[in-house]
């Protein structure tokens, strides 16, 4: 059996090269794989394209990764961070690119990337500046815009519990983008609060089947971004 268990977050991400496209799960701090992100900061890969709904908070996690200058381009729906000036400053200085995508289109593009759908039509953005330059097609009397599937070289994911085969379950609204990003990346790297023996998760309750997961690493007591920010932590 192929071993998915990694010794540490460092081992889990150490082959991410410069120029990689990396999806990072989470919506705000909920479901954000902060330990994996911090390992990526230490690792130092640069010229990254990062796909996440936001641009991080404070000076930890995703905001810290952006702050080091490792990120060439952000693809996200809402880059206005609370408690974070990292992205706005780099953006205004022309030091980081931004592709702004509505949240639902972002989610659907990621799912499409994972499901082998290269492109689809959607009503979202029709008639707005975000549809400019895109193909519009009328179907059954309504206008739709063509959007393309998104995939990535790597996905950094946080879950509640994984078994040895990489079957995952999540906690409440920390689920968010994580399951679809697992599907859309060539190499999906997961930090789990708990790794259990195979067979311990009811097959009816699995949210991400192990086929979408390449590497798992246990992080029993993950940090909470808001707590780090309250404590004034700035990574690294």
């Amino acid at each position: 059996m192929v071993e998915k268990n990694m010794k540490s977050v460092v081992n889990a991400i150490e082959d991410i090269p410069d120029g990689a496209t990396v999806m990072i799960g989470g919506f705000g701090e909920a479901g954000s794989p902060t330990e994996l992100i911090h390992a990526l900061i230490d690792h130092g890969a640069k010229d990254l394209t990062i796909i996440n709904n936001n641009t991080g908070n404070g000076e930890v996690g995703l905001a810290a990764l952006i702050g080091t200058g490792q990120v060439r381009k952000m693809i996200c729906s809402y880059p206005r961070s609370s408690h974070s000036k990292v992205f706005p400053e780099l953006y205004r200085a022309g030091k980081i690119e931004l592709e702004i995508v509505p949240q639902g289109t972002l989610a659907e593009r990621i799912r499409a990337g994972g499901a082998g759908i290269p492109a689809f039509y959607t009503a979202t953005t029709v008639g707005t500046p975000l549809a400019e330059g895109k193909e519009i097609r009328q179907i059954n009397g309504r206008d739709y815009v063509l959007e393309y599937g998104l995939s990535a070289d790597y996905a950094l994911i946080k879950c509640e519990t994984s078994d040895q085969m990489g079957n995952l379950i999540y906690n409440k609204t920390a689920r968010n983008f994580n399951p679809i990003m697992c599907m859309a990346a060539d190499v999906t790297i997961v930090q789990a609060r708990k790794i259990v023996q195979t067979g311990m998760i009811d097959p009816e309750h699995v949210i991400t089947p192990g086929i979408f997961v390449n590497r798992i690493v246990e992080v029993c007591e993950p940090v909470t971004e808001s707590r780090l920010i309250a404590e004034g932590v700035s990574y690294p």
């Binding site: 659907e108 689920r175 679809i180």
Partner: protein, 207 residues
Amino acid sequence: MAELVAADIPDGSYVNLGIGIPELVAKFVPEGREFIYHTENGLLGMGPAPTPGQEDPELINAGKKAVTANPGASYFHHADSFAMIRGGHIDVCVLGAMQVSSDGDLANWSTGAPDAIPAVGGAMDLIAGVKTIFVTTQHTTKTGLAKLVRKCSYPLTGQKVVSRVYSDLAIIDITPEGFRLLKLAPGVTFQEVCEKTDAPLLPANES
């Protein structure tokens, strides 16, 4: 405003509330009615804020504030959540506005200022997918400019989507003929609303 919006939402509706005044709708649900709240980050059956100290950083709403889950709630991932929105399954969405046109166009995501960092979130998805869009807003901006206009000058969130506007001065329907007064706030005159609206306003229908 929030109370008036709540009074117009049918029992059993699936409702998505934007950030700000729209959130207050949940406090004014009429006796005997129940709404089921959807938050686009992946929860149907959202309950009120938890008692202080009980917050769970992994149980939040789209505004990233701590919430609770009511009995009968369900969690799902983002693509499934937006399938609810974009697939037309949410009955009512209540949003704030920068501008609403008499065609029902909505602008609420960007002033289009050259130094603004564009940030759209789920607004365009909600606008494109939800069956009924209610807007709550002050009738004019802080500097007194009309927010109900002939044509939005700010970048659009969506076209021909708003059904009704609840302002501090009046409730106004968007009809094929343009803005039509539904109801005035206490002490407000039709004349005053007309003056503060930058498009023709039709008087309320006799009924």
